[in-house]
Structures are given as C-alpha cells and as structure tokens.
Amino acid sequence: MTVTATPVREEAVPEPAAGRRLIDKVFKARELAVAAVLLVMLGATQLSNTEFLSEQGIKDLLLNATILVLVATGQAVVVITRNVDLSVGSVLGISAFAAGTYLQDGGSSLIAILLAVALGALFGALNGALVSLGKVPALVVTLGTLYIVRGIDSIWVGSQQITADDLPNGFVDFGHDGIWVVPYLALLALAVLAAVGYYLRSYRSGREMYALGSSPEAATLAGVPVRKRIMTAYVLCGALAGLAGALYLARFGNVDSATGSGYELTVVSAVVVGGVAFTGGSGSVYGAALGALLLTSINSVLPAIGVSSVWVTAINGILLLLAIAVDRILALRVAAVLRKQAAQLRSARHA
C-alpha cells in the first residue's frame, strides 16, 4: 500500500462521482471560506495592532457577535425553508423592553429571559400563521409585522427609556462577565447554535425543513406537514429574536423605542454571507453564525487599524455582494460539471 501511486491513477481515470465530490467540497468549503476570511482578517489586524486580540479584545469580539449570532441562527432556519423573517429587529426591540419593564419592578432574571423568549415566540407564531395559512410571500407578510410590532413598541414605550440603573445587578453582571475570555452570553449563544444545528441535522422535522425549502411541491407529495414545519421555523426564529432581546438588555442595559431598528437587514446579510441560499434547502446555521461573526468583527477591526467606522456599512455591503457572486459562480461551475458528467454517463451507456 504505497500512498504515492494513487494520486496519479486518480487523475488518469475520470471518477464517476467527481460531480458529487465537488458539490460536497463546495458546501463544506462555503463555511470554511467564511471562517478563513475571518481568521485572515483577525490575524492581519493583530499584526498591525498587537493590542487587538488582548483578553478584553477577544471578549468584546465575542460579546458583539453574540446577539447577531442568535438572531441569524433563527433566521437561517426560516431561510432554509425558503422563507424570510424581516420582523426580527422589531421583535428583538419589544422583547428587550418587555424584559426590562419586568426587571424594573424587581423581577427575577430567569423569568425576564423566559418572558422575552415567550413574547418572541408569540410574534413568530403570528408570522408563521400568516405565511403558512395566508399563502402570501413571506417578504411582504413579515415586512407588515415589522411595522406592526414596531408600532406597538412605540406606543407602549413612548419616550420612556430603560437604563442599566433600573436593572438588578445580577442581570447586568450576567451581561458582562464570563469564564476567562468567553462571556456567558457567548456561551449561551453557542449552546443554542449547537442545539439548533443538531436539531436540523438529526431530527426528521429538521430534515423536512431542508426538504421543504428544496422543493415545496415534492415535500407536499412526500407527506411533509408543510404548514407545521413553516410554523415551527417561525416560532423558533421569533423565540431566538426574543432571547436576543433579553441578552441585548443585559449587555447594553439601555432600551428605548428604536432598539433593534434596521437590525433585520444585518441579520439577513449575515445569513447570506454565511452561505444559506435564499432559494432554500441548503446551507447551515453554523455558516450563518460564522457570517454573523464576520460582520460584527469588521466593526472592531476597522477602528483597530485606524480606519473610520463610517466604512463599516459599505464594507458589509461589499461582503454581501461578494458572497452572492461566489455562490453564483460556484453554482454555475457545479452545474457545468454535472452536465459534463451526465454527458459522459450517456456516452458510456451507449458504448
């Protein structure tokens, strides 16, 4: 068994499964590519500014990413089913305020978090019901709920504001402390991410979400309970937006009626940069989380290398377009390989 002989033979004989290999690689590579870009960026920044990856630096990076990672995880699940949830920013805002109001009157931290999650899940259920029963495009439905929830929030909050002084110390500490450089919030997000990733990979209903996004017609014929799965995806997404709201409160200690405005677009960017296809059925929550980490890290990188942070949004936009361009080019290449492979198979059968 010499190892050296095999690669030569593999090149000489065209592998019938070459197309599959390539696809496998592409999908794995899609997440690896985001991770690589992230590492190169962080490494380069560290070289030009050795203070960047200090203990506090790493902690800040993780803290900044936590909330986006959570919301992007939920969003990714929805996008995998070939839908979208634009109301996450509004849901985050109103959940944060609800948790803050409860804590102001001296409630327990745990119940505050559960309250935020439940409120988010409730709005998620509303979205899910409208999308799955109404058969209206998710983009429009959730644009509607974005404004409705924001409107309710504005009426309720008015000009009030919750500040860190109003919150119990334990809750605020929870938002800052951690184990060594890893904040509690990041641990929580990581646990949620792993759980959702495991669910999508290892449970029938999780697989059915991919099936549903890949081909809604085939899913119906295969007996997938389409409405139920869409509902689950939206409830999960809403619940995670609610959880993110509670964590937002713990981290920043400051909530008003504009909290979370425009956040949905950052979330969607993170999901797409992370390789979750908008056409549904492919990508993973891990990719979405990496996308979130990448986008938030840019916020920290630019000041560290002395670039004004006004560039952040423009750079996010460029990353988004790059990600879509890369996906498109890869899809075309995969299609070409598959076509060639099919042609080879045909001529082999004719021979």
Binding site: G19, E208, S215, A218, R346
Partner: protein
C-alpha cells in the same frame, strides 16, 4: 375466463368518484377496484383523467363526490401522508425529488430510521438505500445529491422510494417512459415479485405491449369518464385503442395536404454541452414537422436555443437564409421566428395582465410611435387576433389568469401569430386543454401551414404527432435518433426511436 373479478374485498377502491377543477370536469363518476396480487392497468389518452385519478388515490386531491375505500371501508385521505401511512406508494410521471438533498434522504424523507431520542440514524438510512439499489440492481451512490441525476436515474430513485415501505398498493404513472429496455425488464421483475407477495399494482403506460406484459386487468377512461373495467385476457391492442379513443380520429387531427416550399428554418449541428448534441434538421414552408421524444430528451431545449432564449456551444441556425445571432430572441423575432413555449403559465403569459396587453407584448414595434405606446393600435391589433382565434372572453380587459386553459393557450397563440411569423415553433401546443379546443388548435396549425408558414411542433402526445406532422423527428437523450416520413411514422417506430431501440423497431 382466467381472471374473473375476485370475490375478495379490493385493497383500495374508488366508487363513483368525480372531481372538477373550475369548469373542467376531470373525473366523472369513475370507479376502480384494486385487488391484492393483481396488476391493474389504467388506459386512456392524455387528458382522460388518469393523473387526477391517481392523485385521488394518493390523497393529493379529495374527490368532490364518491368515496375512496380501503379494505372495503370508506376512508378520507387528508393528504399524501395519510395515503402513505395506509400503504399506498405512488411513482409520479415526473419525478418529485429534493434537488439539494442526497438520494438516500430523498427516499426516506419523513420515515428515516431513528436512534434513541428520535434522532435520525443517518448510517442506516444510507445502508437501507444501498440495499434497495442492490435489490433493483442500480448503480447509484446514496450520498449523491438528487440535483444533476438524469430523468431515468431520478425515476429509479422514485421506484426505490416506493419499494422502501413495503407498499400494499403500488401506483405507477408512466414509470417506464424514460427507462431503457433492460431497466424496464428489471423494474417489471421487481413489480412481479411485489405482486406475488400480495401487493396491488396500478400501472399506467403509453406502451400498450407493456400493459399486456405486466397486467391482468384494465380500466379505460375517456374524457374523465369510466368506459370499461375488464380482464386483459381475450383483449387485443386494437380493442384497447378503440376504447381509449372512441371518436373519429380524422376530426381531431384535421391535417390538410399542403405543398412544401423552400427551406424556412435550417438548424445545423446545434450543440449545447450536456443538453443536446449535433442536432441538424430543416423545416420547409408549408410543412408541419413533429418533434417527438421522451420528457427530458432535450426537445424544448433545442427550441429554446433556436429561438435564442438559451445560448448554444456550437452549430448554427438560419431562418430564410439569414443566420441568427445566438442568444438574441428579439433578432430571431425580427427574422420571422416565433416560439409558443411549453409552459403557458410561466413562460407564455403574464397571468395578471389583460388579454389585450398580453397579445400586445409582441407588437411594440408596430404600436409604438416615438417611444410612446399607441393604446388604440394595440387594442385593435389584439381584438383582431382574439376574434380570429375565437378566444372566449367577456371583455378584452379581462385578466388572462381567469380564462380556461384552452383559452389561455389561444391567447399565447394569438400573441405570436400577431407577429406574422414565417417559422412557428410550438412546444406542447395542446397540453392540458380540452378536446374541442385541441381540435381548433390543430385546425389552426394546419391552416397556417397551408398559408406557407413552416411549423415545428414539439409534442409528447403521440397521436397528435402522428395525426398532424408531415415529417417526424425523434430525439433520444439529446440527439436526433430518427427522421420518419408521415408514412413511416407509427406509434411503434416513434417510441422505438424515442427510447433508443432504433435497430429493432423497423419491423413494421
């Protein structure tokens, strides 16, 4: 009387089932009884209601009237999952797979073997898939994504899916259409084994000899109505055809004899890598050329490339001596080419727009002055064609989405005929429209040819090809496999060429 009606209760049955879609009555009081250990054929022309009947059995459609009986007891399937849980496996005509997922996941979706805590056991999903493929003698990788599989391979995945849950009832809607001879033989072997083990089988095929090979009993439908259920013993193919057609063929295919003129469309060595290869043919003025072949043979793709919707990698297209620029539909239109596409809802019409404006879409060059549209000119052009084609509408401003399928197809035809094409390509011109309109469309095509238009007609409806075409081109897996004159073209010779069995098909 070797196969009298068994005295046992049918496993699955329909009694007096009717189903309408809008104004179209797809099924009218149809009954069907499937017995354990018996293969039952469902015969009928395209549009006779076979697919609707299958969907009623599979829980996709709920009958308007009548009942579905499972083991003699009335049941209501609320969805495909209910039918599946009752042991009904369906292989649809067009494979319904998840392109992003692996072949193994496609087969076991929703029914994956599970480990502790309800987790999917990916390893045993893969193993079970490999076992199924071994049983079918298929060389497919369970981990391969469904995207990129050939139609035949996709069909094999569907068959494996049906086998994977030991079905009590196996329903197959033209499973052999895309398979080669040896694949068909293997499939039949598996079906016979299942039948001998006590499964009830419902089988649809356009190839009558397959029906006689595999089945014991046949039910014939015509225009949504039940015609007969009888044992196949003692029936001939001619008997069956008579029951299926039941009307004068000449009336449905009013083909006029025409004088063919100069070459109007000339396609030379057209190739799009992996889709079609080395396709050459001519269509002359006054001629209707049929382009036959199985679904996925590349017919529509050739039409799209000729018209310039898709690019091609090699070859050339000439219309009346002018070489067309690849990938430029507007230049193709200017040269006198028109394409009536296969899918009128997605490609042929803007469903939310009015009849008037849909027809007007091809005429901006004539109805626009200095960049401004002349609505009056557009209106009179549209009225003219809508009336000539006898489109049935209340007002010209009606949204086309509200019209029946046949009338929608007429609007698409009007839209393209209004450009006064010299060469008309029609892709499945009568798919999913009622018999009356079908005859009208045929009369129209025939009249156009008589006026000197060169017509290329793509159709999966074999009687239509045989009834209307002066010449028949047949495609098989991306290549032209036969060119037959009207006299040479028979159901057998066309099917033989379409399935790549050319060498044995020339006996007739």
């Amino acid at each position: 009387m070797t196969h009298p009606e068994p005295e046992t209760t049918p496993v699955l049955a329909l009694e007096g089932v009717s189903k309408s879609f809008g104004a179209v009555r797809a099924l009218r009081g149809v009954s069907l009884r499937l017995y354990a250990g018996e293969a039952h054929a469902l015969a009928g022309e395209n549009g006779a209601g076979k697919s609707t009947l299958i969907k009623a059995l599979a829980g996709v459609h709920r009958p308007d009237t009548g009942t579905v009986l499972l083991d003699g007891e009335p049941v209501e399937f609320h969805g495909p999952a209910d039918a599946r849980d009752a042991g009904v496996a369906v292989i649809y005509q067009e494979p319904t797979l998840f392109p992003d997922l692996s072949v193994a996941e496609n087969i076991f979706m929703g029914r994956q073997p599970r480990r502790a805590l309800g987790r999917v056991d990916h390893a045993s999903v893969r193993r079970a898939t490999a076992d199924l493929f071994a049983r079918l003698g298929v060389d497919l990788d369970p981990d391969q994504p469904a995207r990129g599989l050939s139609i035949a391979d996709q069909q094999l995945v569907e068959i494996a899916k049906a086998l994977s849950f030991d079905a009590r009832v196996l329903i197959m809607d033209e499973p052999t259409a895309a398979l080669t001879g040896s694949e068909v033989a293997r499939l039949f072997g598996v079906v016979r084994t299942l039948r001998e083990q006590g499964a009830a089988v419902l089988f649809i095929s356009h190839r009558l000899e397959e029906i006689f090979q595999l089945c014991q009993r046949v039910t014939t439908l015509r225009d949504g109505a039940w015609i007969a259920s009888e044992p196949l013993d003692g029936l001939t193919e001619d008997d069956l055809v008579r029951r299926m057609v039941g009307r004068d063929l000449a009336e449905l295919y009013p083909k006029q004899d025409t004088r063919t003129g100069e070459v109007a469309l000339s396609v030379r060595r057209l190739t799009r890598e992996g889709v079609f290869t080395d396709v050459s043919f001519d269509v002359r003025r006054g001629e209707i050329v049929g382009l036959a072949g199985l679904v996925g043979a590349g017919r529509s793709e050739v039409a799209r490339a000729v018209f310039g919707v898709d690019r091609f990698d090699g070859g050339e297209v000439e219309v009346l001596g002018t070489r067309l620029k690849p990938g430029a539909p507007s230049l193709a239109m200017a040269a006198g080419l028109a394409l009536v596409p296969e899918d009128r809802r997605a490609q042929g019409l803007v469903m939310d727009m009015s009849i008037e404006r849909n027809i007007g879409l091809t005429g901006f060059a004539d109805t626009t002055r200095a960049g401004l549209m002349n609505r009056k000119a557009e209106r009179s052009r549209s009225v003219d064609w809508a009336v000539r084609l006898q489109v049935k509408y209340a007002r010209l401003g009606d949204v086309v989405g509200t019209l029946s399928g046949g009338n929608q197809q007429k609007v698409v035809l009007a839209k393209w005929l209004a450009t006064a094409p010299q060469v008309l390509i029609v892709d499945e011109p009568t798919r999913g429209i009622d018999v009356g309109t079908k005859a009208e469309v045929h009369r129209l095509l025939s009249a156009l040819a008589a006026e000197g238009v060169a017509v290329l007609m793509i159709s999966s409806d074999l009687p239509e090809i045989l009834g209307m075409a002066d010449r028949v081109l047949v495609m098989h897996e991306g290549r032209l496999s036969a060119e037959l004159t009207r006299a040479e073209a028979t159901e057998e010779s066309v099917m033989a060429a379409a399935t790549g069995r050319t060498n044995q098909g020339s006996a007739a």
